[in-house]
Amino acid sequence: MSLGGAAVVLERDLLNYRRTWRGSLIVSFISPVLFLAAMGLGLGSLISHGQHRLVEGVPYLDYLAPGLLAATAMQTAALESMYPILAKMMWDKIYDSILATPVQVREVFLGEIAWLVVRVAIVTVAFFAVMVLFSAVHSPLGLLAVPLTILTGLAFGAPFFAYTANQRNDTGFAALNRFVVIPLFLLAGTFFPIANLPLVFQVFAWVTPLAHGVALVRAATLASPIAPLAAAVHLTVLLGYSGVGIGLGLRGFERRLRE
């Protein structure tokens, strides 16, 4: 099974990125600075003052930052896996022209998955660097947060690819954003412990990948102990969503592009 075509599909995405990387990278730095300053320092000063600290014995900014990091990976994955993919599939027909060459559908899919990972990695590293500047990373082991965050992005991006492959127009994207991405951003442990929520929201949070990503990333940057069993469950959920998403996405691409 030849995968050389996947590398060229990635190369094409990098050519496109080369045109916009400066602006895109600046945003990747500014956005976490704004969030951490406003919510971590500003809002955090209302929540924790003096010796009274909110959660897990750390300043609110340090608690918030890993949650936002994982949530940013989710949002980046959502951005990259919806409109740009449907455009290449349906509106600009870029995939049609690629598939007139020896490149196969699976190579197109895997190339786009590779680009998704690269894109999430860029955003993750920028965010992580800002966290270091804000002293929100408590141990060198915090570096583990980078691959864990990228995995969280993949756990969303891969199933979203499968979803996009079944869309005939863009109305489904608004629904996915409104009913999955935004609620998870608010409820999946980014801003406060999930245990504070009513049970129905807790269930919603734990059956989707973000809460698991947040839990792992937070344990990494705060260097807080985590039960091996819990860590294994979190990791399994993220890997499961990624693996099943890749399988379904590949099938979706094959069906859609072989019409």
């Binding site: 060229v8 496109n16 027909k93 060459t101 020896p102």
Partner: protein
């Protein structure tokens, strides 16, 4: 004419070729062969099955029935190997709007497995060939329709294909842009690049094709060179007459002695004859006074009208 060629020498060999979409049959059992070095055309109105046929040849749409060999191989088995040797110019431009004009050619070369250096070199050669060198670094979007078409043709040549597939190469272009495209295609043919093209323009088929088949409703209704088809299905000359809109003209008996055949179209009457001058004299002799009259050579348009009873472009 040569003796029947063996299938293995033909670039394309199709027998009883069928394409179905659900219960709709787009291509209904067609036979044809395309030989090395020739320009072969599919002529027909929209919906005749031309594009479906092209997509099967291009190995992007599976065959529903019959047999198809492209470059001696089976598209169902060797799709990628066949595509490696084809150049495709699709009906819609499908250019990559997110990267520059030159990068469109560069990355396409990469999809065919060219090295970066070779793909870059090839992109520059082809920009030269289609006269777009000065637009190399520009975006694709602001290019004119004719420029985009030339860029798509250049893209189809990036792998130095043995066979170029062109689906309606000049549809939607103004006359000047069309002639520029035709000129480039003619040069390619002189270099020995075989071409298969679809068109619903008669003049395009006459300009570009050595041999063509006329398609209608998924079937081939005639085959031959443009000249042969005109000789076989039409007359040397055509007399076109226009009458006042409200005139009640009796055309009964008009063919007698004047024309081999008469076609009455909504806006004009066509008389098929070997001698247009004699025919117009005869029309006047019978006391008919057309608003205008025109004597012209027969074209493939007339062939199509004869074969199907319908005009090609409505």
């Amino acid at each position: 004419m040569e003796a029947v060629q063996t299938p293995s020498r033909s670039l394309i060999h199709a027998r009883g070729l069928v394409k179905r979409f659900g219960s709709f049959t787009a291509v209904d059992g067609i036979d044809f062969d395309v030989e090395p070095g020739e320009a072969f055309g599919f002529l027909g109105p929209n919906g005749a099955g031309k594009t479906s046929t092209m997509r099967m040849i291009g190995c992007v749409s599976p065959v529903s029935g019959g047999s198809l060999r492209v470059l001696g191989m089976d598209p169902a088995v060797d799709g990628a190997r066949i595509r490696a040797r084809l150049g495709v110019v699709p009906q819609a431009d499908t250019l990559d709007l997110e990267i520059s004009v030159e990068d469109n050619l560069f990355i396409y070369g990469r999809f065919f497995g060219l090295s970066r250096a070779r793909a870059r070199q090839r992109a520059r050669e082809l920009l030269e060939f289609v006269q777009l060198t000065d637009r190399a670094r520009d975006d694709v979007e602001p290019l004119s329709g004719g420029m985009k078409r030339r860029l798509v043709i250049a893209r189809g040549l990036v792998n130095e294909p043995d066979l170029l597939l062109l689906d309606e190469p000049t549809t939607g272009l103004d006359p000047q842009a069309r002639h520029l495209v035709w000129d480039r295609l003619y040069r390619l043919k002189q270099r020995g690049v075989s071409q298969v093209l679809t068109t619903h323009y008669m003049d395009e088929a006459e300009q570009l094709c050595d041999r063509l088949v006329v398609m209608d409703k998924g079937r081939i209704v005639a085959a031959g060179s443009p000249r042969e088809l005109i000789d076989r299905y039409s007359t040397r000359e055509v007399l076109e007459l226009r009458f006042p809109a409200d005139a009640r003209i009796s055309l009964d008996g008009l063919p007698d002695g004047l024309a081999e055949r008469v076609e009455v179209l909504p806006d004009r009457v066509l008389l098929y004859t070997a001698d247009g001058e004699a025919a117009i004299a005869g029309v006047h002799q019978r006391g008919l006074v057309p608003v205008s009259s025109l004597i012209r050579r027969s074209t493939l348009e007339d062939v199509f009208l004869r074969l199907t009873g319908r005009s090609l472009v409505d």
